[in-house]
Symmetry: C2
Subunit: 337 residues, 2 copies
């Protein structure tokens, strides 16, 4: 028996728990193979195959880089064209529905070694990656010409990755994108009514209830959201209210990054090797009135295909209850956590 | 050089024309093969492998069926649980964010023959399919307990199809889904300002400009929308204003269905055999105040993967300009059209 559930933050509806669908026959067999004869431009020693580094983190004291941030060789947006002063890209009701492709598109190479998943990073690499995210957001914010930086991660061909070597991307945008706008509106409505931020209240409820919690540390929580769009979707967030990712304390980056790595690892142990998507949502720049927003990371393995119903309606069909997913993920945590 | 474009109907933003990305290296090779030893439950002779037919169209006078509509064996929603009187699924701000999984989920089997694509249907089969859509919408509307019927089509594993045999699906919903809600709001804003319906005005502009038009018949048009999310995305719509698909005249079904088949066929000739998604958008039931809405069909091949940026922002990256796609599709039309 399925049910409709609404996510309070995005206001998205999902249909969850139509269990028969989880085991329905599938006559297609998919195979993804790496075309290994292409040299990897992200491996140590091939630095001349990428555009020059925007930032290099040499965290191990050896002089070799741990994490490199480079411009995307095939950028979706560039600073070659200036932003037009009169057009407002990404606004709901702009004066005109067109704008120059002004923005910035970078790649965060998370290790000099040719590994594919966040779960394969060392302590030092994963922490340096999460610091690199923070530092690039701070630097791009300081440039004063962007309104939002979207950090995201595509792992595996099914998730849209074109290269296997472990990496994330960021796109700095001249406006606030729609999905953020919806979350900000829902957060604002909640704050006006309750005088408390929405997502921290949700997190407190999840902590009290425990059924959807996957793991907790002193300062962070990982849980399967009530209205998960996808099987094994997990959100990662600070337990105390914090609007902006760029305000994460250096002392907390190790704890956060190790939890993120652990979540990806237990997802991979639970469902097998899988493509996955991850992205950060944080308060856009210059929006102090929305300080009730709460940054978080959304991660989901690409097990189901987004099909015509989802595209036509915006409502997702998730055969798998998040309570079931969380229980399975908890049993897949590594013994040390 | 890319640019931002906004779709006037959905208000979605896209980044189009980042040409380098169209040819960026991809080290993954994907293969999809049909697992042919499973018997096909949709083929003629295997009718006992599906739930009983809801409707059977025997259009060729032979007594054999041309198109069969059956309940989905693995339904996302059912009528087993009644709708709860107090909860409003799919509303933006409902009193509660949960509702029973009340609805109806059916499969439209479009041919007794084991073919995979709309482009392989006969004249009779494709016209009967489009009549079956119309008749089921009318019948489900008459039941008085649904607010919207989403008709959609997943072809190929990459588009979410689990069975190869040519079919569409419908899900009757107890509320109006978000994507429709957004289109209705944009249509309404436009109508209040201009006293004319939005999409017919856009279509008139496309007809005047021609650069994005793929094909036109006496009553229908196929064009690549200005802010296409995906390469080779095509919209099909009546040229004269018509809010509801269920009001299509029987005499126009042949013209419409042959144009739809031609568009899918020329898409397949242009890009090669491909998975694709299609869905219908039509005015929800009991919304006469929105009679300015205009029904249409959206079709897109699954050539690009939806990745972290799109999930995080709601803004799509389309490397391919719709003007380029339309020109290519026009050269791929069959000689007779």
């Amino acid at each position: 028996m399925s049910e409709f559930r609404q996510d309070p933050l995005s206001r998205r509806w999902v249909i969850v728990g139509c269990d028969g669908r989880a085991v329905r026959p599938n006559e297609f067999v998919e195979a993804t193979t790496r075309h290994s004869d292409l040299p990897c431009p992200f491996c140590a020693g091939n630095e001349d195959q990428t555009p020059p580094a925007v930032a290099t983190h040499s965290a191990n004291g050896s002089g070799h880089w741990t994490v490199r941030v480079v411009r995307n060789k095939y950028p979706a947006l560039t600073t070659e064209q200036p932003p037009c002063p009169t057009c407002q890209p990404l606004e709901t009701n702009p004066a005109q529905g067109q704008a120059t492709g002004f923005g910035c598109h970078e790649v965060i190479i998370e290790s000099p070694r040719h590994v594919a998943s966040l779960s394969e990073l060392t302590d030092l690499e994963v922490e340096t990656t999460f610091r690199a995210y923070r530092d690039r957001i701070r630097e791009l914010k300081a440039e004063g010409r962007y309104q939002y930086v979207q950090i995201f991660k595509n792992v595996g061909a099914a998730a849209g990755a074109s290269l296997e070597h472990v990496h994330s991307q960021l796109i700095a945008l001249p406006g606030v994108p729609e999905v953020l706008r919806q979350e900000l509106a829902a957060s604002d409505d909640y704050f006006r009514e309750h005088r408390r931020p929405l997502l921290p209240d949700l997190i407190a409820k999840e902590e009290a209830e425990q059924s959807r919690v996957v793991a907790q540390t002193a300062n962070f929580i990982a849980f399967c959201p009530y209205a998960s769009r996808f099987p094994y979707e997990v959100w990662l967030a600070p337990r105390r209210h914090q609007p902006r990712y760029e305000d994460v304390q250096t002392g907390e980056l190790g704890e956060l990054s190790r939890l993120a790595r652990e979540i990806v690892g237990c997802m991979e142990r639970a469902v097998g090797p899988t493509a996955y998507t991850a992205f950060l949502h944080t308060l856009p720049f210059d929006m102090p009135a929305y300080d009730h927003y709460h940054w978080h990371i959304e991660i989901f393995p690409r097990l189901t295909k987004v099909a015509g119903f989802e595209w036509g309606t915006g409502c997702f069909i998730n055969p798998f209850l998040p309570e079931t997913a969380a229980a399975h993920l908890r049993t897949s945590l590594s013994p040390s956590s």
